[in-house]
C-alpha cells in the first residue's frame, strides 16, 4: 500500500520511525515495532542515521514487511552514488516496498566514521527526480527499464522551525518540482511557528505530516536546542519537564506535551510523524491522548 492513497482519501496519516541496530539481530526491533506501532499507518526505517553505520535499511524494511508492517524506506545520498541509489530503489520496489523518503543525509563527519568519503553525487531533490524517472520507465541516463516500471509514494522532509525557513521553503518548492508526493517535518515544539509555516507551505498542495518528538527530560531538550538543526524547545516546556522529574521520567509529561502540540497543529496538516527515539512503547498512549 502506498501512503499517498491514504492522503488522497483524506486520511490523517500517522507514521513513526525506527533505526536498525549495529548488528544482524533485527528480531527485537521488528517485535517491538509490531507490538507498539501496529496501530499506525507506516514505519520509517532510517538510513545510517546521523551518519552512524547501522544494518541495511532495505533489509530491515523487508523484515518489517514480512512481519506485516508497512515500511517507509529512507534513502540518503551520503553513502551511495546514482547507480547504487537507483538499484536500491528498484530493489525496494521489487520487494513490494513502495513508500520511500528521499533525504540528502548528514555529512559523514557528523557520525562514527568521520574519515569516510561523503558521496552526495545526488541530493534530496535529484533523488526525488530519479525516483520520478524510474516511475516513467527510465533510469537517470535515459535508458529504458525492462518490464513494468515501479510506482512509489515519494516522500521528502522539510524543517519548518529552521532559522533558515526561507531557504527551506525554496528547497521544498524544488522538491515538489522534482516529484515529492508528501512531506514529513523536523520535530515541532512551537505550534504557532508551524501554523505560520503551513500558511506558506500550503501553496504547494502536498500533504505535510507534523514531526513530533516525545521530550524525555529537560536535559534532552537543552541538548537539542544546542545541537539539533531545526529543533527548538521553548523554555516554558523545559520548565514543565523539570518541574516534576519523576513524572517526566515516566514519560507522562513528555506525552502530554507531544499530545498538546498534535492537537494544536492537527487542523493545519495532513498527518503526523513520530520520532519516538527509543520510546516506541509510549506511541499508543500518545495516540490516545492526542485523540487519534
Amino acid at each position: 500500500m502506498r501512503i499517498t492513497e491514504l492522503f488522497d482519501n483524506g486520511e490523517f496519516v500517522v507514521t513513526a520511525e525506527v533505526g536498525p541496530p549495529k548488528g544482524i539481530h533485527l528480531g527485537h526491533l521488528v517485535e517491538e515495532a509490531k507490538e507498539h506501532l501496529s496501530g499506525i499507518t507506516a514505519v520509517n526505517v532510517t538510513d545510517n542515521q546521523s551518519s552512524v553505520m547501522r544494518t541495511s535499511t532495505l533489509a530491515t524494511c523487508a523484515m518489517m514487511k514480512q512481519a506485516g508492517l508497512t515500511p517507509i524506506y529512507q534513502a540518503t545520498c551520503r553513502d551511495r552514488n546514482r547507480l547504487a541509489l537507483q538499484s536500491d530503489l528498484l530493489g525496494a520496489a521489487a520487494l513490494g516496498i513502495e513508500n520511500i523518503l528521499c533525504l540528502t543525509g548528514d555529512h559523514t563527519k557528523m557520525g562514527d566514521h568521520p574519515g569516510a568519503k561523503p558521496v552526495f553525487d545526488l541530493d534530496s531533490v535529484s533523488l526525488l527526480y530519479t525516483a520520478s524517472q524510474l516511475e516513467k520507465g527510465y533510469d537517470l541516463a535515459g535508458n529504458e527499464l525492462v518490464g513494468e516500471p515501479p510506482k512509489f509514494a515519494k516522500g521528502a522532509v522539510v524543517s519548518p522551525i529552521s532559522d533558515s525557513v526561507d531557504a527551506q521553503l525554496a528547497k521544498m518548492e524544488r522538491k515538489v518540482m522534482a516529484g515529492a508526493d508528501y512531506f514529513q517535518t523536523q520535530a515541532v515544539f512551537e505550534s504557532e511557528k508551524f501554523i505560520e509555516f503551513m500558511e506558506r507551505a500550503k501553496q504547494f498542495g502536498k500533504p505535510v505530516q507534523l514531526g513530533v518528538i516525545i521530550p524525555k527530560n529537560a536535559g534532552m531538550c537543552k541538548f537539542m536546542n544546542r545541537n539539533v538543526a531545526g529543533v527548538h524547545v521553548p523554555q516554558y516546556m523545559i520548565d514543565e519537564l523539570a518541574a516534576d522529574k519523576e513524572r517526566a521520567k515516566a514519560g507522562i509529561t513528555g506525552v502530554e506535551i507531544a499530545a498538546r502540540i498534535i492537537k494544536e497543529c492537527r487542523p493545519y496538516c495532513q498527518g503526523l510523524h513520530i520520532m519516538a527515539l527509543g520510546w516506541e512503547a509510549k506511541v499508543p498512549e500518545l495516540m490516545k491522548l492526542a485523540g487519534l
Binding site: 555529512h107 541530493d123 524543517s159 532559522d163 533558515s164 531557504a167 527551506q168 528547497k171 524544488r174 531545526g230
Partner: protein, 207 residues
C-alpha cells in the same frame, strides 16, 4: 592548470538582461581562455547595441587591484544591468562580491587540467567543476561554499545559519538564499530544472 570554455550562447543570453558591461580576464598563465569565441560573441552583443563597455584585463581575482582598474569604467558599469564576466569561477565570484546589487553573470565554465592552479585568493574558491553554477546562485559558488557541494538548495543541517559540518562557517546556501532574495531573483533558483552534477568533465574538455 585550468581551462575556461564559453557556455552556450543561448545559456548566456538567458542569464543576462538589459544593458551589459563585459569584463574579460585573460588571467594568469595557468589558464586557457577561449579568446576567439568570446570576441565573436561580444561583437554580436555590441552589434545589438546592448553593450555599455568592454574591458579586458588580468587577475580580476585580486579585488583590490580590480577596484582600482575598474574606476575609469564606473559610468559604463553604472549604466549596465548585467556585468558579464569571462573568467574562471574565482573571477566571477570576486566581481559578484564587489557589486552585490548587480546581476553578475558567468559566461564561462571552468574545468581543471593537471598542473598549476593559478592565483587563488583566500576569499573565493573555485573547484573547476566544469559546469559553473554561479548564474543560479547569485555568484556564490555552491561547490566550495557548501560542505556537501549541493547544487539544488540547502540541506536540513544548518543551525543558526551556520553549516552543520563546520559551525564556524556560514551555510553557503543561506548566503545564496540571502543574495538571491536581495537581488529579487529567488525564482532563478526555485524555478531552475533539477541540477545533476556531471563528473565526466575530462571528456568534456577533450571534446
Amino acid at each position: 592548470m585550468l581551462i575556461t570554455e564559453l557556455k552556450a550562447n543561448e545559456v548566456i543570453r538567458a542569464a543576462i538582461s538589459g544593458k551589459v558591461f563585459v569584463l574579460n580576464c585573460h588571467g594568469c598563465r595557468e589558464i586557457r581562455f577561449p579568446e576567439h569565441e568570446a570576441d565573436a560573441f561580444q561583437a554580436e552583443l555590441t552589434a545589438e547595441g546592448i553593450v555599455t563597455g568592454i574591458f579586458t584585463t588580468e587577475y580580476i581575482c585580486n579585488d583590490e587591484n580590480l577596484s582600482v582598474i575598474l574606476q575609469p569604467h564606473a559610468a559604463a558599469i553604472q549604466a549596465a544591468d548585467t556585468i558579464l564576466v569571462f573568467s574562471c569561477g574565482v573571477g566571477v565570484q570576486t566581481v559578484a562580491a564587489m557589486y552585490p546589487g548587480k546581476r553578475v553573470v558567468a559566461a564561462c565554465d571552468t574545468y581543471a587540467l593537471p598542473g598549476f592552479q593559478g592565483v587563488t585568493p583566500l576569499e573565493h574558491d573555485c573547484k573547476q567543476c566544469g559546469e559553473c553554477y554561479l548564474n543560479l546562485t547569485g555568484g556564490i559558488c555552491p561547490i566550495t561554499a557548501c560542505s556537501k557541494s549541493l547544487v539544488n538548495g540547502q540541506c536540513g543541517g544548518a543551525k543558526n545559519g551556520m553549516c552543520e559540518v563546520d559551525p564556524s562557517m556560514e551555510c553557503g546556501w543561506e548566503r545564496i538564499q540571502k543574495k538571491l532574495t536581495a537581488l529579487g531573483r529567488l525564482d532563478v533558483l526555485t524555478k531552475a530544472p533539477v541540477q545533476l552534477r556531471n563528473y565526466a568533465t575530462d571528456d568534456l574538455v577533450n571534446k
